[in-house]
């Protein structure tokens, strides 16, 4: 497609659908055309632990005696040589859950940073509301229409952006990526195609012909862009993918999502923001300690991310992985050897550019008078300061204030993990 011709004909399209006064963003993109960018670009991989992971058993404050007092049956024991059931020592005060050994080498090589006691300043203990707030990044305000990662995409208008600039490996577009900037959501890469069995190629040809000949229509422009993206992905040949560096992803939907994100990055399709999520963290009963429900889920979580890191190898120079969960869980274990909905939590940030090997954020303590509402880990880092640091220093947005309406972002509050 000749870009100049495209511009001209799309101009007609603007007028004919009566949108000439305020062209919506997708029209601008159609007007400017789109070629998947092959150049180097920064990528953020965001992973949501839906259901509120117990941050205190994920990143264990074994240096706090209150931790053991308040969790008689579910605590993780202090690191001890030769004890595989004990916490993995990080800095003499914090330790990783023993099922997260995949993170140990990343910590040791200073590529893994932890921000503890972080999260939303809103006190909602509803999963729905808290996920909503974390994804819109407007705690307390429900009517925010777009997610913060979509606002990031809007803030950095990129005429050369590819259709795969933002990809969610989920069936539906998650709240964090909803908004006017285009996003592709798909459960599997193979879904992003014309699916008509043996005649798929033939039928796709038919659609391409239909959408090619009708150039005075916004839909036609988007159709051409769609097939450009489909064909581009096909060339990347996702069926033939082999992970590198001996990476072994868990055989689960989560593992597959991460593997396919690695595929997209290696295929240089212009991926800038990738998203996926993992459920099953709502451990109200029998969450276990070094083994059990939470241990199994943390094992899947950390080994998946570990494999992704290994697979991407040197490419992690330009990639940062961020993990988050809507709120933490009660410091005290409940009557059912589980934990209930709490407040602050822990986030991981990983990448070759990350100043890792450190637990960031002020630790508020776990003594009774240090707890939030006498039950939860208090909050010392607003998640917007973490997101904001990633957006400015990693993704390089110039317009970071538009990302968090109602919040004045300041680098003085950044944790400097980048």
């Amino acid at each position: 497609m000749n870009r100049r011709y495209f511009l001209k004909s799309s101009g007609i399209a603007l007028a004919s659908v009566g949108m000439s006064l305020s062209a919506p963003s997708f029209l601008e993109r159609v007007v400017f055309g789109s070629t998947p960018s092959r150049g180097k670009r920064k990528t953020l991989i965001a992973i949501f632990q839906r259901g509120a992971v117990d941050g205190l058993n994920m990143v264990v404050p074994f240096g706090e005696s209150s931790y053991y007092d308040l969790r008689p049956s579910i605590s993780i024991s202090k690191p001890a040589p030769g004890n595989a059931e004990a916490a993995i020592d990080l800095d003499g005060f914090f330790g990783l859950h023993p099922s997260m050994s995949a993170f140990k080498s990343l910590w040791d090589s200073k590529r893994l940073a932890i921000i503890h006691a972080s999260g939303s300043p809103d006190n909602s203990r509803s999963h729905f509301d808290a996920q909503d707030y974390m994804e819109s990044a407007t705690p307390g305000v429900k009517s925010t229409k777009d997610g913060w990662l979509n606002r990031y995409l809007q803030s950095k208008n990129d005429p050369d952006a590819s259709s795969f600039r933002a990809v969610s490996m989920t069936t539906n577009t998650p709240r964090v990526l909803q908004g006017p900037a285009p996003v592709v959501a798909m459960a599997r890469l193979s879904d992003f195609a014309i699916r008509a069995g043996k005649s798929s190629a033939n039928v796709q040809g038919g659609f391409e012909a239909l959408y090619a000949q009708k150039s005075d229509d916004v839909l036609a422009g988007m159709g051409r862009e769609t097939f450009e993206a489909v064909n581009y992905l096909k060339k990347a040949n996702p069926e033939q993918y082999q992970p590198e560096n001996g990476a072994q992803y868990p055989r689960s939907p989560f593992g597959n999502s991460l593997l396919q994100i690695a595929q997209l990055i290696k295929a240089s399709v212009g991926l800038e923001v990738a998203f996926t999520d993992l459920q099953g963290w709502d451990t109200h009963a029998n969450q276990g300690n070094s083994r059990g429900q939470l241990a199994n889920n943390l094992q899947q979580f950390s080994s998946g991310i570990g494999a992704l890191y290994q697979d991407l190898g040197q490419r992690m120079d330009d990639v940062v992985i961020l993990t988050m969960s809507e709120f933490g869980r009660t410091v005290r274990e409940n009557g059912n050897r589980g934990t209930d909905h709490g407040h602050a939590n822990a986030m991981f940030v990983m990448g070759n550019s990350v100043r890792g090997g450190k637990v960031y954020g002020r630790w508020p303590g776990l003594k009774n008078d240090q707890l939030y509402e006498e039950r939860d880990l208090a909050l010392t880092t607003d998640f917007r300061d973490v997101f904001g640091e990633l957006a400015t220093r990693h993704l390089g947005t110039k317009n970071s204030n538009s990302l968090f309406p109602g919040y004045s972002l300041s680098s003085s509050r950044f944790k400097n993990f980048l």
């Binding site: 659908v17 285009p182 699916r195 008509a196 038919g206 659609f207 159709g223 009963a285 059912n336």
Partner: protein
Amino acid sequence: MKIVLVIALSLSIVAPPVAAQKSAKPHALSQEQRIVHVLNRLGFGARPGDVERVKAMGLENYIKQQLNPEKIPDTVAENKIKDLTVLNMPAAELYAKYPQPGQLLRQLRARGMLPEGAPAPENNQTPPAGNPLDNEKYREVIQKYYRENGLQRPQQIIAELQASRILRAVYSERQLQEVMVDFWTNHFNVFAGKGADRWLLPAYDRDTIRPHAMGKFSALLQATAQSPAMLFYLDNFQSVSPNAMQRARGPQQQRRGINENYARELMELHTLGVDGGYTQKDVQEVARCFTGWTIFQPRGGGAAVNAMMGEAGRRNAGTFFFNARTHDDGEKTVLGQKIPAGGGFKDGLTVLDILARHPSTAKFIATKLVRHFVSDNPPPALVDRVAKTFTKTDGDIRETLKAIFFSDEFNSSTAYRAKIKRPFELVVSAIRTLGADTNGGPGTHQWLARMGEPLYGFQTPNGYSDTAESWVNTGGLLERMNFGLALAGNRVQGTQVDLSKLTANETSQAKVLDQSLKTILAAEVSAATRETLLKQLDQSDPVTKVVGLILGTPEFQRQ
């Protein structure tokens, strides 16, 4: 009345509309186009034979009929939905017959019915905890209990509700009624994934939206304000005045106070619009007025409640009630109007009255209706006229719609096929145009979700967008094409298509194509499109392919 209508109609044909479009000169539509236009906008597109039927009865008669749905017999649609039992159940029955696994587990434990050695289930949390069916220790005993007691999983409720929406949109003769149900369900959006809303939504559709979809806006607004579904979704059920009698609560009770969520969205999204002239102070005052508007047993009565309150407690679970003990009975001022102390339940009604009759509401509702029925960019002159009608008729939805349907702007070529169908409109219109038969089941729900419009699946209170830019994107467009192919190829589970009916056993390729184009697109395609399609007819099963392609054309994405 009849005379007025006819005059309005003939005017619209004689006088060309004045919509300001530079390139395409607007002109009046042909009679055939007007019929197609009305079938597309007042309904979910034509079924085979519909255009001829409307022509025979007269277009104005058809529109008048659609504006009075209660007079249209609708036995086919009623038969289609008669086995969807959740539609007629009160919330209490839904709680009982479609229990949440977690709640069931707690009950089983209370009755000592869990097997030896099974670990203790979670305590009574708000909101309910994770799914115990993910835990293999519980799975078997719970599944057995569901089976033996004729219970079903709660997901079934929304599955049946979605099915009813699809079936009615496909089969109902009351097409405009279904369009308005879709419009108001979206305007007063409630997300099925939030807590108890799953059990509360059948009543929302049945008792709140449907009875008022073509009635008075004020009645609709009050119905939504008192609906347990909305009270739960926007948290008003737990909005409690700090000044009210709360002292009996023990320290274990969750601390609660005023929740402004409903008050804010009521003004921003349901009535005045974001620039409608209210302040944060108004939000706070409105929230005070609605304290005590709550739900009796919002998550269904547990065993303890049943024991305490008996049959009445069980029956009324999940219904509206006003709790005077949590109401703030002081004086309030809303949009400059004083609401005296001691109003109790009436405070909320007064607020709804002020809002329903506010000029900003007339403008906001008129804008949304014109955007839905006429154009993504609502012509301001039409919005003004429609808002005036809204005000003059005290928010009569039927009269307001009439002002739109008989306007020049609606009947202009600039409005013709100018709206991009939303996925729900696409799915239903595709099934209708092919005369396909559907059960409205999960097969169709999955396609709606893939294209981005799962019914009752929009999280935030603003509802699905009604403009093109939200729906024209690579992933969405690809899924639209795939849906067309799947439907034509009989690969949508629960939906059957007989394409031989469509093509009347024509065998010549050109005739097959022309017949398909006539049925699906009223033959309104360019010569180039027809030529392109003709070239595609090279396979063993040309009809399936060509129908799939036509459903995926840019033309069919429009209405």
